[in-house]
Amino acid sequence: MRRLILTTLLFASVLFVTDRAFGQNGPYQYYPLSPCRVVDTRNANSTNGGPAFSTDTTRNFSIRGFCGVPTTAKAVSLNLIVTQSSTGGWLTAWPSGQARPVVSMINFQSSDPALANGVIVGLSSNAQDLSVYNNFGSVHVIIDVTGYFQ
């Protein structure tokens, strides 16, 4: 699997785009959006709502179709927020349907009331196009989308 890593030049965040999932890997244009909350696990249980993450858990969210992200989007810029963590841990986000990359996108401690990190991450063509993994403890995850690439 080839990974095109663009954004480490710019951010601490990571962009994964895979040719296997999309048939092409860019280049993509950026479309900025007014920040919009697309996932909040504090809400009632649903695709983009609860429940909270527990230890060693992966959940798949739907990003395209929400917040102005079109179904043709290939990647999104997100603000990844954690809150109410029971213990220290870390999250990874990646295009759903692929193997989980061995990276962390946000590291947090239980003493953090809330913590955020900006990331750019690719989306798969699945209806639930973004996977998020939590390695340890119970934590709520919030995703605010700030733009997309296509």
Binding site: L33, V38, C67, G68, S77, A116, I120
Partner: protein, 736 residues
């Protein structure tokens, strides 16, 4: 064979126990059988009872209630059996047991064992030849045989109605005693009050079992001086109505009526159903007015009260019972245990006598004067013309005891001391006519709580009114509820209540000014139907991309089928219904509100408003341009942003960002936070959609990177939720 009660069983009756509490005593040896007593704790004394010692010198003293707990019930559930137990504070007990028509005396002996002995038949009713009853001359007229004295004198007694199958009744007694009884009781006032409590307790046991009537004592008086107000000694002679007469119990009854009618000599002005004088004078006899309980006094003249003896005197709810010769009828000294004189005599004449005379007050004739209609004789398969023919009087002819023996209202004990049973009437036998007659009278003169109005059924948690009416004026009501809540006042003719679980029982006690009370209840069925409660409403307010659809879904719990209806608009606005169903799909083209209503047969529930924001993707594309990192803003050089404040920040035109830039790539350090909080950025002029860009924690300087969409004018707006805060914006690139 002497029976006994195991100490462990009797111990169940020690200690505090609420009125009405049920307790079962098991393995009680009664005669040569082993029985079970089904008992109920009950109270003989009214809550505010007055107990008085009259010293005869114009002074009185308040007496304490006997330290006795009272229990009543039946043996093995036999409705014709009877148990009355008085248990002292020290655990000693005395009582009366009737099982299989045999009377037993139960008491603690000097070894502190509780024994049960069959009463000696010869000692049971030591009736002497002077026994008489002053109402014997009254004949049965009409269907119920109501003596004319009642109808003429009271006139206003409410008509009989249909007897409630559920009502219970209360009679408040005022008990008088005389100096002779005081002497018989060892001149001990406490012994007299204990005796009064035990006799009335036994009477209440009979009345509650057969007539659903509690007999309680509102007032009692003990006379410790020979100069008491009761001067008439039946059998002796004296001046009466201007001539010398031989006194009978009727004279004593008239003296009692005069004493209580005169407000100057009346010792108690509280509510009273009847006044009963328990006399220690020698004649074993009683007399009472018929059908006068719960009514007022009336004056007698020209023989209209049945005898010239009463002319010029007062009648009403009065009863006289002579307890007879102390040597044979007054409590056996061996009943004194542990310092308590329990006072139930070795025989039961006081119990029978008071029950009998009080029975007259509640309209009971003698059973040998209760004439039977041909239909009643056919119904009960009897050939005699009266309920019993134990004595000649109304009946003339040979006397005999009926197979079921006599009732309390009979004279059958004259044919054998145990031939009168402690029964007002026996179900299925002709004597039940007497029981029904007495109950109808009580029902007619007590508040008519039968007519409770309440809904037949309600839903759990719903409220309703209930009301009661009575044809008798001046009634006070007291309501109570089981499996529900009374909202506000529990008195008055109408209350409001909320149903709990199935079934609700509403009770109301109506008390008349003379202390006669009736308690009745209704059951209100409570449907198990519960209104819907929304458990899931999906989605929450959120934003979608133009051209996509949104799935609206709701789930509710509740009884029966639940229907769902989604609406467009704010919650409660039903003007724009969507397609019915709990799960629907909508494709709004602009920001739209939705809500859902779940309905079943017992109610509905509305969801909150869900706002679906529709966002149109930007049509212009942009490319990334990398900049040398550049500090665009540092509020430490200007002004920190206050909690709750927004600030517009120009991005383009600074750090080399052209005016055509669509978005900026930034790092945002929040410097030394003074509180926990977050910054949310959005394009100036747009809406903040509840997002967070940098979360900060007190004392920890943290940085987050973001791509900030810019307004057409090239600016961003930040909202700060937390503390008054300094922050920095460093740019590293832009999109255009």
């Amino acid at each position: 064979m002497q029976g006994r009660v195991e100490p462990n069983e009797l111990r169940k009756l020690h200690g505090p126990m609420a009125e009405g509490a049920k307790v079962q005593l098991e393995r009680i040896a009664v005669g040569d059988t082993v029985r079970t007593f089904d008992l109920e704790r009950f109270e003989v004394w009214a809550p505010n009872a007055e107990l008085v010692l009259d010293r005869g010198d114009g002074t009185t003293e308040k007496l304490e209630r006997p330290a006795v707990n009272y229990y009543r019930g039946t043996v093995d559930g036999d409705p014709d059996s009877m148990v009355f137990l008085a248990v002292g504070a020290d655990g000693t007990a005395q009582g009366l047991v009737v099982a299989d028509e045999v009377r037993y005396r139960m008491r603690t002996n000097d070894k502190r064992e509780v024994t049960i002995d069959e009463s000696d038949p010869l000692d049971d009713f030591p009736i002497d030849g002077s026994f008489s009853c002053g109402v014997d001359g009254l004949t049965m007229g009409g269907k119920k045989g109501v003596p004319s004295v009642k109808a003429d004198a009271l006139g206003g007694v409410a008509a009989e109605g249909t007897l409630s199958a559920t009502a219970t009744y209360t009679l408040n007694l005022a008990i008088e005693t005389d100096y002779e009884l005081y002497q018989d009781m060892g001149s001990n006032p406490a012994t007299v009050t204990t005796f009064i409590g035990n006799v009335i307790g036994a009477v209440s046991t009979i009345y509650s079992r057969d007539l659903r009537t509690n007999v309680v004592i509102a007032f009692s008086r003990v006379q410790s001086s020979a100069s008491d107000p009761f001067t008439i000694n039946p059998g002796s002679s004296g001046l009466w109505n201007g001539s010398t007469q031989t006194y009978s119990t009727s004279h004593a009854l008239a003296e009692l009526g005069d004493l209580w009618h005169n407000s100057g000599t009346r010792p108690f002005n509280g509510p009273r159903s009847s006044v009963v004088l328990m006399s220690g004078k020698s004649q074993t006899a009683g007399v009472a007015w018929i059908g006068t309980s719960c009514g007022g006094d009336f004056s007698c003249s020209s023989g209209n009260c049945g005898s010239a003896v009463f002319d010029g005197h007062w009648a009403g709810g009065y009863a006289y019972i002579g307890l007879g010769n102390p040597s044979t009828t007054i409590p056996n000294p061996d009943a004194t245990v542990g310092g308590i004189q329990y006072g139930l005599s070795a025989n039961y004449w006081p119990v029978l006598g008071v029950a009998h005379e009080l029975g007259h007050n509640i309209d009971g004739p003698h059973t040998h004067c209760f004439s039977l209609t041909p239909a009643q004789k056919t119904q009960y398969s009897v050939t005699r013309d009266y309920i019993d023919i134990c004595v000649t009087g109304c009946y003339s002819g040979a006397t005999s005891v009926p197979p079921e023996k006599g009732t309390v209202m009979s004279y059958c004990h004259l044919l054998g001391s145990s031939q009168s049973r402690f029964l007002m009437g026996k179900a299925g036998e002709v004597s039940e006519l007497m029981k029904n007659h007495l109950m109808e009278y009580i029902n007619s003169v007590t508040p008519n709580s039968r007519s409770i109005t309440a809904p037949a059924s309600m839903g759990t948690g719903t409220s309703s009114n209930a009301s009661v009416v009575s044809p008798i004026a001046g009634i006070t009501y007291d309501w109570s509820i089981t499996n529900g809540t009374i909202n506000g006042s529990t008195t008055g003719t109408t209350i409001n209540f909320t149903a709990g679980t199935n079934p609700v029982t509403l009770r109301v006690k109506g008390t008349s000014s003379n202390g006669c009370a009736s308690t009745d209840y209704v059951n209100v069925a409570v449907s198990s139907c519960t209104a819907p409660v929304l458990t899931t409403v999906l989605p929450v307010s959120h934003a979608i991309t133009l051209g996509t659809s949104v799935e609206l879904n709701a789930t509710a719990t509740g009884s029966g089928p639940i229907t769902y209806q989604w609406y467009v608009g704010t919650s409660g606005n039903t003007s724009t219904p969507a397609a019915p169903g709990n799960g629907i799909s909508a494709s709004p083209t602009s920001t739209t509100n939705y809500w859902v209503r779940a309905t079943n047969s017992c109610g509905s529930v509305d969801s909150a408003t869900i706002t679906v924001t529709v966002i149109t993707p930007p049509s212009t594309t942009s490319m990334l341009y990398v900049l040398q990192p550049c500090r665009l803003l540092d509020t430490r050089n200007t002004t920190p942003i206050a909690n709750g404040a927004t600030r517009d920040i120009q991005i383009t035109g600074i750090c080399g960002i052209p005016s055509t830039a669509k978005a900026a790539v930034v790092n945002i350090p929040v410097v030394s936070p003074v509180a926990d909080g977050y910054l949310g950025f959005y394009p100036t002029g747009g809406s903040w959609l509840g997002t967070s860009t940098v979360a900060y924690r007190v004392g920890k300087t943290r940085t987050n990177n973001a791509i900030l969409a810019l307004s057409a004018g090239g600016s961003t707006t930040v909202l700060n939720i937390g503390g008054t805060q300094n922050f920095i914006i460093d740019v590293t690139g832009y999109f255009e």
